[in-house]
C-alpha cells in the first residue's frame, strides 16, 4: 500500500516537474552564474519551453507558459506581456516542427533552436528598443543566445531522462 502511494506521489510529482521548474525559474530569473563571469548567461526558460513543447507538450500547457511570461516580465522589470509573446512564438515554432517531423532528430532540433532563439530575442529587442524606447545591450542578447544554444545538449540529456521517467511512470 505504502509503495503504491509512493509510486503515485512520484508519478504526480514527475508529471508536474516541468511546470514547477518553469515557475521556479521565472520567479528566480536565475542564470546559474555563480562564478560571476562577465557576459556569461543563458536562458534556461527558453531551453525548458523548447524541449517540453517539442517532445512532450502535454507536460507544459500554453496557458502556464503565458502566465510564466507575465511573471518573468514583472520580475525582470520589462513591460508586461513581452516575454509571454516571445515564449508563445517559441511554442508555435516547436508546434510547427512537431507537425512536419515524423521522427524527431536531435541535430535538427538543435539547429532550429538557434534560429528560434535568434528570432524571439530579435522580437524582444525590437519591441523594447523601438516601441518602449528602453536601451538594451545587443551584445548581451547575442551572447545569451549563443550560450543558450550551446547548453541545449546538456539540458536535452537531463530533460530527456526526465521525460523517459515520466513516460515510464505513466505506463507503469
Amino acid at each position: 500500500m505504502s509503495s503504491l502511494n509512493k509510486s503515485s506521489f512520484l508519478r504526480i510529482f514527475l508529471s508536474y516537474l516541468p511546470i514547477i521548474m518553469l515557475f521556479f525559474s521565472v520567479f528566480n530569473e536565475f542564470d546559474f552564474n555563480y562564478l560571476k563571469l562577465d557576459y556569461f548567461a543563458f536562458n534556461f526558460v527558453h531551453l525548458l519551453i523548447f524541449f517540453w513543447t517539442l517532445r512532450n507538450p502535454d507536460q507544459l500547457g500554453y496557458l502556464a507558459i503565458f502566465f510564466a511570461g507575465i511573471i518573468n516580465d514583472v520580475v525582470i522589470g520589462i513591460p508586461i506581456g513581452i516575454s509571454s509573446f516571445c515564449y508563445l512564438i517559441l511554442c508555435s515554432v516547436t508546434a510547427y516542427i512537431r507537425n512536419i517531423t515524423l521522427s524527431p532528430n536531435f541535430m535538427k532540433d538543435w539547429i532550429s533552436l538557434l534560429f528560434t532563439i535568434l528570432l524571439i530575442n530579435s522580437i524582444q529587442v525590437i519591441i523594447l528598443d523601438l516601441v518602449f524606447l528602453i536601451n538594451v545591450d545587443y551584445t548581451n542578447y547575442l551572447i545569451n543566445s549563443g550560450f543558450t544554444f550551446l547548453f541545449y545538449p546538456i539540458f536535452f540529456l537531463l530533460f530527456n531522462f526526465l521525460n523517459e521517467r515520466i513516460s515510464y511512470q505513466k505506463n507503469d
Partner: protein
C-alpha cells in the same frame, strides 16, 4: 508544388489552432492575448495601473519567497570567497587604516565648516532617509535593477536617490504600494548628472550594462587634465533630483572614460532611499 504549399498551410494551421488534450486555449488565442496585454501595458488608464500594481505586489512577494534558497546559496558562495581572500583583504585594510584616522579628523572639521558656511548663505540641505531592504536582486542581463521593500505607503517617490552606505547606487523608477524598483547605475538607461573632482568638470555618468560606467557629455579635452590624478565622480545636484556631493565612483581608465562604481551592486542587502530639500524650499 501546390501539395507542398498545402502541407505548409496545414502544418501552420495545426500549430496555431489545434489544441492538445490538456491544452485549454489554442496558441493563436494566447498570442493575441499577450499582444493585447502589451498594448494595455502601454495605456495609462487608472484601472490598468491598479491591476498592474496588484500583479506586481503579488509577484514581487512571491519571487522573494521563491528566491530564498538561491539567495542562501549566493550568500554561502560569497562567504566562502571572503574566507579565501582573507589574507589579501587584511593587508589591504591595514593600509587603509593607516590613513583613515587622519582623514576622519579632517573630514569632521570640513563637515562642520561646510555646515556653518551653508547656514550663512541660507542653503542648508535637509535630507530625509528611508531605510529599505533589497527584496529581489536578479542582476538580469536585460535590466539592472533591484526591488526594495518600501513603497508609496512609506512615502517613496519616483526619482529618489538610492544609497548604499554613503555611495549612490541608483534611483527609484517604479513605485508600488509596499515596494519599489530602483534602476542601478550600471543599467544602460541610467544617466546621472555628476561633477568630476578635483577638476570640477561637469559630466553625465551613464551605465554600460556591465559593472562599470562611462563619462558622457563633458568637455572634449577633459582627459588631458586627468593624467596621474585620482578622479572621483560625485553627484552634481543639477536637475534637482539628487543631493550634490554623493560619491559615485572612481575613474580608472581616463583614456576610455571608464568609471568604477564604489558600491558592489551584487552585494546589496540594505539601502537608503533619500530625498532632499535645500534650505528655504517648501
Amino acid at each position: 508544388m501546390a501539395t507542398g504549399r498545402d502541407d505548409f498551410v496545414i502544418a501552420i494551421r495545426s500549430a496555431f489552432l489545434k489544441k492538445k488534450d490538456k491544452q485549454k486555449f489554442s496558441l493563436l488565442t494566447l498570442i493575441f492575448l499577450s499582444l493585447f496585454v502589451i498594448i494595455l501595458t502601454n495605456l495609462n488608464f487608472k484601472v490598468i495601473e491598479f491591476v498592474k500594481l496588484g500583479i506586481k505586489e503579488v509577484i514581487y512577494r512571491s519571487s522573494y519567497i521563491v528566491s530564498i534558497p538561491e539567495n542562501k546559496l549566493k550568500k554561502i558562495t560569497s562567504k566562502l570567497q571572503l574566507h579565501m581572500d582573507l589574507y589579501e583583504s587584511y593587508q589591504k585594510e591595514l593600509n587603509n587604516l593607516e590613513n583613515s584616522e587622519q582623514l576622519k579628523l579632517q573630514n569632521e572639521f570640513l563637515t562642520l565648516e561646510n555646515k556653518k558656511l551653508r547656514e550663512l548663505i541660507d542653503e542648508s540641505i535637509n535630507s530625509q532617509e528611508i531605510f529599505a531592504r533589497v527584496l529581489i536582486d536578479k542582476n538580469s542581463p536585460y535590466l539592472k535593477s533591484v526591488v526594495l521593500n518600501k513603497g508609496t505607503k512609506d512615502k517613496v517617490k519616483i526619482g529618489m536617490a538610492v544609497i548604499d552606505e554613503v555611495y549612490l547606487v541608483g534611483q527609484i523608477i517604479e513605485v508600488n504600494y509596499s515596494n519599489s524598483r530602483a534602476l542601478l547605475l550600471s543599467d544602460l538607461n541610467s544617466k546621472i548628472p555628476s561633477v568630476l573632482e578635483p577638476d570640477d568638470i561637469q559630466a553625465v555618468i551613464s551605465g554600460t550594462g556591465s559593472n562599470f560606467g562611462k563619462i558622457e557629455h563633458t568637455q572634449i579635452d577633459y582627459k588631458e587634465s586627468f593624467n596621474n590624478k585620482e578622479i572621483i565622480a560625485y553627484t552634481s545636484g543639477l536637475g534637482g533630483l539628487f543631493k550634490p556631493g554623493i560619491p559615485i565612483g572612481k575613474i580608472v581608465n581616463s583614456s576610455e572614460g571608464q568609471i568604477n562604481f564604489f558600491s558592489d551592486f551584487t552585494q546589496l542587502n540594505y539601502v537608503k532611499i533619500v530625498s532632499y530639500k535645500l534650505g528655504g524650499e517648501k
